[in-house]
Symmetry: C2
Subunit: 115 residues, 2 copies
DNA sequence: CCAACCTATTCCCATATGCTGATATGTCAA
DNA sequence: TTGACATATCAGCATATGGGAATAGGTTGG
């Protein structure tokens, strides 16, 4: 097997930097493809393809507006990502624990203050 | 160019399901490679390789213990992931905004109640 | 009808992947 | 030293990728 398809998963879809940037742009509101192309300086075919990936995994949706296509962020799609990180949230922040570890280790070593 | 290397990024590293599972196991505490192999029923060479990827991006560290190698989660490594999702946090939860959108659209369409 | 415009799609390529199987490295026990 | 155990690494494979260039599709305006 090769790597999982980018369209198989929110995690795989979001792994690409350009797709994350696109989502950030869309975070500010609905945009046409051309706007994204201008904002991010990515070639149009690529933007279209990235949007296809994002649409497949349910991160964006799209509606027609004349000859333009307006894409909109679908934030619920990010939920799996958020939910997966959440349990680690405390561990990510707790510097206190690490300081405790450090202090504890100092004591275990004999509490010497140096010099 | 091909897809970004799995070792280039926390996002790419975490894109793989097995690597996420490994991180979850390590979330409970330090484990030897063999323990992970047993827990997740993934072949040993793969586990070793996945751990290498995770080590490269700073998500785990490892210390020797006799003939075993004990891996430990390094939660700070998840910070880029957490930080990237955070700004979307409110949008992920807010159903209210979507109801507002819906009501607003009804009004824009002329406020007809049907029939 | 035609031309201009915006987007989507297709073809091609080098690249990196995850998996399997086999083997190397390193550590403990006798 | 020899053998058993734990882990890392290597070779080979099918697969999907992101990017570039070119083109097709659909919409608007004259």
């Amino acid at each position: 097997m090769a790597r999982a398809a980018t369209t198989s998963d929110v995690f795989n879809a979001v792994a690409d930097v350009h797709r994350r940037e696109i989502l950030e742009v869309l975070g500010a509101g609905e945009r046409a493809v051309g706007d994204i192309v201008d904002d991010l300086a990515i070639a149009q075919p690529q933007v279209s393809n990235h949007l296809r990936v994002l649409r497949t995994v349910g991160l964006v949706n799209c509606r027609a507006d004349g000859r333009r296509r307006l894409y909109r962020l679908q934030p619920e799609g990010l939920r799996p990502l958020r939910d997966w990180v959440s349990p680690f949230e405390r561990m990510i922040n707790d510097r206190l624990d690490r300081i405790d570890d450090y202090l504890g280790e100092l004591q275990r070593r004999g509490g010497g203050h140096g010099t």
